[in-house]
């Protein structure tokens, strides 16, 4: 099993030929679910460490949640111009975080491709996992859901529940910084 400050849903094994999924297919493509949060950056550091260890490439995906913006327009909480203004803000934020994650990977010589999408987060993640042949999805820690309703509405929880590949939820901070800083 993968050891470190995370837990993994799905199974990976380390054998003499390297990291392998239980279907015998090596882990070659790791996707990081990037969000505008420090926990997401911590997850990215861990993904870089994993990719370096496994010789994998990374895809960093940020999905601007335009589904939530549409919901606010429908509810009349937002007017159209306001929704567009917020969408621009969210897109700028997405670019900033994707660049940050790219810098983290490049600093350690790990190949990372950024992908910026718009839509319903869990649906986009599921589609991209399938399209891009992702072996492992890495995401930052989310607060534990307090109800089944929250499981349904929280996009992080929905990604966790609906992803069609193993998912690694990264926890901790200092240990991960140390792992990341230890990569030459």
């Amino acid at each position: 099993m993968i050891r470190g400050n995370g837990y993994i849903i799905g199974v990976a094994l380390f054998c003499s030929t390297g990291w392998t999924m239980t279907d015998g297919h090596g882990i070659t493509t790791i996707m990081i679910l990037v969000e505008s949060s420090e926990k997401s950056v911590i997850a990215a550091r861990y993904a870089v460490w994993l990719a370096k260890t496994m010789g994998a490439r990374i895809i960093a995906l940020y999905t601007v949640d335009t589904h939530a913006l549409e919901e606010l327009l429908r509810a009349r909480i937002f007017v159209r111009m306001e929704g567009m203004d917020y969408e621009r803000d969210l897109e700028e934020d997405a670019k900033r975080y994707l660049n940050l994650v790219k810098d983290l990977a490049e600093a350690k010589g790990v190949e990372l491709t950024t992908v910026l999408e718009k839509g319903e987060v869990h649906s986009i993640v599921a589609r991209k996992v399938s399209e891009l042949g992702v072996d492992l999805l890495v995401m930052g820690e989310h607060a534990a859901p307090r109800s089944r309703r929250e499981c349904y509405y929280d996009e992080g929880q929905r990604v966790l529940c609906e992803a069609q590949c193993p998912v690694l939820v990264v926890k901790g901070d200092e240990r991960i910084r140390s792992l990341y800083n230890g990569i030459s």
Binding site: S36, D65, I77, F78, D93, R146, S147
Partner: protein, 154 residues
């Protein structure tokens, strides 16, 4: 971001003194001023009224969600006021508004702001929850109703 994470009893007021939109916004902002969450009262009021001028945030079912983006707050900030009698807030259905949920966010916090508003939009669909909240006699009771609703397993 859940309402129960943003609110505490000192951010909830039962009853409103004003019956006009600007007066209500001022009262909602003053709750935040009293809690030392706002650096510039006037800036928040102006930003909120400018937003209201683009279209009323008075929704259906007696809920109003005035909000703004302003540098006068340093974090996503929320206050709640409840009027049993109801006040005209140019609601979408033309009916009086009873529950006023105010949100102010600094620039650069659009993500959490959108999440919080989306959560409020969902809560605003639940008529039983809104009835219980409208009838809360004390801030503690209102907070309990919100906590229960947001923790309710379905």
């Amino acid at each position: 971001m859940k309402l129960s994470q943003l609110l505490s009893k000192n951010l909830i007021q039962i009853g409103l003194h004003h019956s006009d939109k600007k007066g209500i916004v001022e009262e909602l902002v003053d709750i935040l001023v009293a809690a030392r969450k706002v650096a510039d009262r006037e800036a928040v009021i102006v930003a909120t009224m400018e937003r209201e001028a683009k279209g009323s945030t008075g929704l259906e079912r007696g809920v109003a969600v005035p909000h703004c983006k302003t540098a006068a707050v340093t974090e996503l900030t929320c206050s709640l006021a409840i009027s049993r009698e109801g006040i005209d807030f140019d609601a979408a259905d033309g009916k009086p508004s009873h529950i006023f949920i105010f949100l102010a966010a600094p620039p650069g916090m659009s993500g959490p702001h959108v999440k919080a508003l989306a959560n409020i939009a969902r809560l605003s669909q639940n008529e039983e929850f809104l009835r219980r909240l409208r009838e809360a006699a004390q801030p503690e009771e209102a907070l309990e109703v919100i906590n229960e609703e947001e923790m309710l397993p379905e």
